[in-house]
Symmetry: C2
C-alpha cells in the first residue's frame, strides 16, 4: 500500500494481509473492491452468536471485539481479543455455523463482506487465499498460547502474560502510546480471559501495581520495566508471528514501520 494514500476503511485489513503473503496489484485491487456494508456497533453488543449462520464475514474496522464461549453452568471464557483489521467470524462464514460468540468490547465499526464475494475472492486469488489461511494459522497459534496461559500459569503470571500480549499487539498495530496503552476491559472480562474470578484479578493487579510492575490510571496501563513484566509472564512473542511474511515475500524493511 502506497504511503500517503487516502485512508480507506479496509486499509488495516489489507496492510495485515500484505504481511501474510506477497500480494500484487491485482490482489490489492480485489481486496479494495470487496463489497461491504458498514455498521456501527455499541459496546457490549453481540456481533455473532454461537449457532449463527452469518450471511457474511465481519471485519473490525474500528474498536475492539472479543470472542467467548459460555459453559453449561453459565461461566464465560474469553478466547481472544480482536483489533481493527481482523476478521472475526470466518468460522461462521466458511464453516457451517459459528461455534462461539463475538461481542463488541468497545464501540465498534464493522464491515460485513458477503460470503459469496469472499468465496469468489479466494477462489480467484491464490495469494489472497494463502494470506488469509496464514492469518488463520496465526490465530491458531495465539489460541494455543492462551491454552498454556489458562492451563499452566498461575494468576499472576497469566496476567503478566496477557498484559505483554496486548502491549505487543497494540504496539504492532500502532495503537499504543509510548510505554503504555489503553486496555478497555473490565476486571470481570480480564477474569474471564484468564479463567479466574474478578476478585482475584483485582488482587493480582493490586499486587503488580504495588510492586511497580505496572502503573494504572483507570484502564490505562503503563509498563515501567518491560523486561520484568516479560519475565514474570514467561512471555516470548514468537507465537504472535508479528514478523510473518512468507519466505518469498517482500524484501526486509518493507514493513519496518509496523514494528516501530
Amino acid at each position: 500500500m502506497a504511503l500517503g494514500s487516502v485512508a480507506h476503511i479496509l486499509d488495516r485489513m489489507v496492510r495485515k494481509f500484505e504481511m501474510r503473503a506477497r500480494l500484487d496489484e491485482a490482489d490489492r485491487a480485489a481486496l479494495y473492491n470487496l463489497p461491504f456494508e458498514i455498521r456501527a456497533i455499541p459496546a457490549n453488543r453481540y456481533i455473532v452468536r454461537e449457532g449463527d449462520r452469518p450471511p457474511g464475514a465481519t471485519l473490525i474496522v474500528a474498536g475492539l471485539a472479543y470472542r467467548h464461549k459460555v459453559t453449561i453452568d453459565g461461566s464465560r471464557q474469553i478466547l481472544s481479543v480482536h483489533i481493527p483489521g481482523d476478521f472475526v467470524d470466518l468460522e461462521g462464514t466458511l464453516l457451517r455455523t459459528a461455534d462461539h460468540n463475538v461481542q463488541a468490547l468497545t464501540q465498534c465499526e464493522i464491515a460485513i463482506v458477503p460470503r459469496d464475494a469472499l468465496v469468489a475472492l479466494i477462489e480467484q486469488h491464490a495469494r489472497l487465499s494463502h494470506a488469509m489461511w496464514v492469518d488463520t494459522l496465526i490465530d491458531g497459534s495465539i489460541f494455543r498460547e492462551w491454552i498454556v496461559n489458562v492451563g499452566r500459569r498461575d494468576a499472576r503470571a497469566g496476567m503478566c502474560h496477557l498484559l505483554c500480549e496486548f502491549a505487543r499487539r497494540l504496539e504492532a498495530a500502532g495503537m499504543a502510546e509510548n510505554g503504555g496503552y489503553e486496555l478497555p476491559m473490565t476486571q470481570e472480562q480480564l477474569a474471564d480471559a484468564l479463567g479466574i474470578t474478578p476478585v482475584h484479578v483485582n488482587r493480582v493487579l493490586r499486587d503488580l501495581d504495588r510492586e511497580g510492575m505496572i502503573v494504572r490510571d483507570k484502564r490505562f496501563v503503563r509498563v515501567p520495566n518491560w523486561e520484568s513484566l516479560r519475565k514474570a509472564g514467561g512471555f516470548n512473542e514468537l507465537y504472535l508471528h508479528l514478523d510473518q511474511v512468507t519466505p518469498e515475500a517482500a524484501s526486509p524493511g518493507d514493513y519496518q514501520s509496523m514494528r516501530a
Copy 2:
C-alpha cells in the same frame, strides 16, 4: 475416494479433505501425487521442536501424536492430540518457525511432504487450498474449546469433556470399537492436557470409575452411559465440525458411514 480401492498411505488425509470441500478428480489426483517420504517414529520421539524450520509438512499416517508447549518454569501444556490424516506442522511449514513441539504419543508412521510441493499444490488447486484452510479453521475451533476446558471447567468436568472429545473423534475416524476406545495416554499426559497434576487426574478417574461413569481396563475406556458423561463434561460436539462440508459440497449421506 472410491470404495474398494486399494488402501493408500494418504487415504485418511484425502478422505478428510474431501469432507472439507468438494474436490474433483484433478484435486484428488494432485493429493495422491504429492511426493512424500515415509518415516517410522517410536513413541515419545519428538517430531517437531519449537523453533524448528521444518523442510516439509508432517502428516500422521498411523499412530497418535500431540502438540505441546513447555513454560519457562518447566511445566508442560498439551495443546491437542492428532490422529492419522492430520497435518501437524503446517505452522512450521507455512509460517517461518514452529511455535510449539509435536511429539509422538504412540509409535507413529509419518509422511513428510516437501514444503515446495505443498505450496505448489495450494497455488494450483483453489479447492484444496480451501479444504486445508477449512481444516485449519476447525483446528482453531478445537483449540478454543480447550481454552474453555482448562479455563472454566473443574478437573472432573474437564476430564469428562476430554473423554467425550476423544470418543467422538476416534469414532468419526473409525478408530473406536463399540462403546469404548483405547486412549494411549499416561495420567501424566492427561494432566498436562487438562492443566492439572497427575495425582489429581488419578483421583478424578478413580471417582468417575467408582460412580460408573467410565469403566477402565488399562488404558481402554468404556463409557456405559454416554449421556451422563456428556452432561458431566458439558460436551457439545458442534465445535468439532465433524459434519463439515462446504455448503456447495457433497449431498447428504455421502459420509454417513463415518458417523456410525
